[in-house]
Symmetry: C2
Subunit: 273 residues, 2 copies
């Protein structure tokens, strides 16, 4: 067994979703769709104690829950250039990276599905996400057909990919929204999913995501303005669920005059480095 | 819709398998495990007619069946540096690449699972493979827990990857073996799968694959000799199912004095270029 291990987990931008709570965290989750992106999170792990996030001591509940589930006492160093709390699935990525690296360093001999299940359950119990982990494990443009960890969930994918731009204007609390009244959101999410399943293209993903944001009442005034600007410039943009973040296909944001980060869709899912 | 499209499909080296025939080609398939590798197949496709393989007119039955299923008349150009008929899943890759590229060029608006299902069914009906397509669609080190296309099959993965070497010494007919008496082979494949599921590591994958080759009586004298040479040099090698091909982790073959191709595990599955 190695003394330490590093894992990379891509970011995940959710375009639309519906929430599906369950007492069993491996059955709880979300339906929906998103883009797995090349900008992501690295997790470096060795025996020891304490969690660092971008150089500062931090508490990431989902990471602690993964370590507990794997009965490991570890020093975990999480690094990312992605904005935090802004809809990129950083907490899910940290949890999944911790699961992969712990498995390697502590010789737990678990499979990918088992590690994804542990990270998904930890993220659900922490209340910080419902569908990022299973998407980040897969890569590409995942469609989450059924909620939950691999044994319960079901996924498909949009067989296209393009480069992506994103720009974050602030944080939103995932926990506040997914633990509140989610009936309208879930109805809007189910409609968006039906549309994408009947026409699984990037274009339909973007238009369904925009409609979902409006119907679920999640767009902030700033996001609404930026998405409109990108449309006016001939591009395709929508809001990252859940953050005050706009993502666009290709050069949609910069064409509309915004400074934006650019990356590719990550065809690879989470993996050890 | 674009006038033409290109897809890349990684090669897949099966370490062990069990055959599971079924009248429904989407339920037929194999259990087993293998390595998805960075050396693969590109498929370029446009409206027209005829199939080319490495610059020569060719008939690839699985490709023709995919075109039929998608009601497309296309000129298909398949290119690969992988050895043919030697256990790298080239026919499955050509079928899957054809499905992805046809979907793009002819605007069929199908999902990844639907395209994989069509390519898997085509490959099964052509008799040229049972599990390559679903593995090539996924990437990594897939464990095929249940046979069949996405709606019926189930997959997991070994959460490790390393570079791979391979050397081919000749062809073997997949069709001859998978349409013959497969009882011993299936029993050996099931034992190998149990071992890998209880300890999903690359080391167990390699040792289970070697045991499978012996128990199923598939090793040719040449393969047996080369695998022994790699072991004697301290490496891990096994036979690619089904070809007279040896694959090894890291520099196993070159350490034993063989000229070998080297590539990485492909973490990404099949995709449009």
């Amino acid at each position: 067994m190695p003394d330490s291990a590093r894992a990379f987990v891509p970011g995940h931008v959710t375009g639309f979703f519906s929430a599906h709570p369950d007492d069993d965290p491996t059955k709880a989750g979300s339906r929906g769709a998103g883009l797995v992106i090349g900008d992501g999170v690295t997790v470096e792990l060795e025996p020891g104690g304490g969690v660092e996030l971008n150089g500062e001591t931090a508490t990431i509940e989902a990471v602690n829950r993964v370590l507990e589930a794997l009965r490991a006492t570890a020093h975990v160093v999480v690094k990312t250039d992605l904005p935090l709390g802004a809809g990129f699935g950083v907490s899910g990525a940290a949890a999944l990276g911790t699961a992969l690296a712990t498995n390697a360093v502590f010789g737990r001999e678990l499979s990918e599905n088992e590690l994804v299940t542990i990270a998904h359950g930890a993220e659900v119990q922490a209340g910080t996400g419902l569908g990022d982990v299973v998407a980040q494990a897969r890569g590409g443009v995942p469609i989450r057909l059924e909620p939950g960890a691999p044994a319960h969930g079901a996924m498909d994918g949009v067989p296209e990919h393009q480069s992506v731009e994103y720009r974050s204007f602030g944080e939103l609390s995932t926990e506040e929204i997914i633990t509140g009244d989610t009936d309208d959101l879930t109805a809007a999410g189910n409609r968006a999913l039906s549309a994408l399943v009947s026409e699984p293209t990037l274009e339909t993903f973007m238009s369904s995501s925009r409609r979902f944001g409006r119907e679920a009442g999640l767009l902030t005034p700033k996001v609404e303005e930026v998405v409109r600007d990108v449309s006016d410039a001939g591009g395709e943009a929508s809001m990252a669920m859940l953050g005050e973040t706009v993502f666009a296909l290709d050069s949609g944001l910069s064409d509309a005059g915004y400074d934006a980060e650019r990356c590719s869709v990550s065809l690879a899912g989470a993996h050890l480095l």
